[in-house]
Symmetry: C2
Subunit: 262 residues, 2 copies
């Protein structure tokens, strides 16, 4: 199974600590050696680093780990190829532009019974079911909300509705961001943590590394981290339930009370 | 003025030698310190490395220089900001997907009298005239060739026609690629070289570096390099004329005899 990692913050934050543990899962502490990628939103811009080689041995991964990019929204993915051969064009996360914003998507699971409708506007470049689903999402958003909207709740509702449909076709754990919010859908394995003051020491599961967040934060900082399985072993992570959809903004989960139309 | 660099080959080739000289122009041997970027096609996939800081001092640039990516089509750009502030979203090259392929675009010059029509499908994320023009190009291609075509000559004709129109609005030196061909349009400064057997020694203008291509090539290799000004001082570069449009495929210029409809 692939591994997902997301971060959503209220101040630009580097993800080096989480990434240090996460990257170990790409061929060292776990069996996900079929490429990896990470996307950082910086303002309206977005940087995507991709490598079809295993994360644990990737020169791109080593570079990113030593080059702290401060970002409000980050999505990373380590691939265990199921659909589509190991190739750059099949490496997550995927990027597209809609409504003058970049959108980033990464998926974990296999959509066994899913066939994406052929898009008019967005087409997959590679051969994964994941990229096909992403293109279908963007087609759906533009059809339901032509030209876009500044109301992020409307967008969130539309994404949730679409996700609940596609999730019927297989395992659909995904992370998605437009640089404003970070969206997470869980089929069978995804959890998150919201860190805020008072910050404490966190210790990685996958590497002998710990960090005292109180030394590197201010009292107003808020950071949400979402991952396939907990990255630290001395903090409480909240598991998402099957078919649960979560929306993060400014480092905290929002729209909690929402009953998604499923 | 910004600096452009492109490479088009018949076998995957690394661009480290050309890049070594080119990057010096980003804040060291020339005054273009407002960010830089490079895109590499690898199969159908594409990797884009961007940095809003000067190329000559960029850790991303150092990484890319030491990490030889073999590619058939590369586009790089060093920015001297004229339109749009220094920001990641204004850093070239830009990427979009059309017809299930990635397209990469970088521009040098200022389009003083150009206002891109508001696109239905492609919208700029940043505030440069360059990205607006790129979006307009993709809208134009989809309108003229709905759904795309496998005939690259038809696509080349459409791009040439569009470029000649936009070039009336200002300085429009650009490089464009869909991973199959590399397109170059010259308003006032762009030149190229086609390297083929017998390969010889080349010496950079901007750095005290030379390479003996005969040691790193096979007799069938063909590489075309396109740049704002010559990168080497012991080879003959061919300048493009004002309003000249050039198409490169498999490391050589094609459609030379074409009379572009201008």
């Amino acid at each position: 199974m692939c591994q997902l990692l997301g971060m959503n913050c209220n101040v630009p934050t580097d993800i080096v600590f989480s990434l240090t543990g996460f990257q170990q899962r790409g061929g060292r502490t776990d069996d996900h050696g079929d490429g990896w990628g990470i996307a950082f939103f910086e303002g309206k811009g977005c940087r995507v680093f991709l490598d079809p080689s295993p994360a644990a041995h990737s020169p791109v991964a080593a570079f990113v780990r030593n080059y702290p990019i401060r970002s409000l929204n980050v999505i990373a993915h380590i691939r265990k190829a199921t659909r589509g051969p190991i190739a750059l064009e099949n490496t997550h996360p995927f990027i597209r532009e809609l409504w003058g914003r970049y959108w980033i998507f990464a998926h974990n699971g296999t959509l066994d019974h899913y066939e994406a409708p052929r898009g008019q506007r967005f087409r997959p470049v590679g051969s994964t079911d994941s990229e096909a689903a992403f293109c279908d999402l963007l087609e759906t958003l533009e059809r339901r909300i032509p030209g876009g909207t500044e109301d992020d709740d409307v967008v969130s509702e539309a994404i949730a509705g679409w996700a609940s449909q596609v999730a019927r076709c297989g395992a659909f754990n995904f992370l998605l961001s437009d640089g404003r919010r970070l969206y997470a859908h869980c089929s069978n394995r995804l959890c998150y943590i919201e860190r805020a003051a008072p910050f404490t020491v966190a210790r990685l599961v996958d590497a002998d590394v710990e960090i005292d967040f109180s030394q590197v934060t201010t009292p107003d900082d808020r950071v949400a981290v979402i991952a396939t399985t907990p990255l630290t072993n001395n903090e409480v992570w909240t598991p998402l339930a099957a078919n649960e959809f979560a929306v993060f903004e400014d480092g905290r989960r929002v729209m909690r009370e929402q009953r998604w139309k499923t």
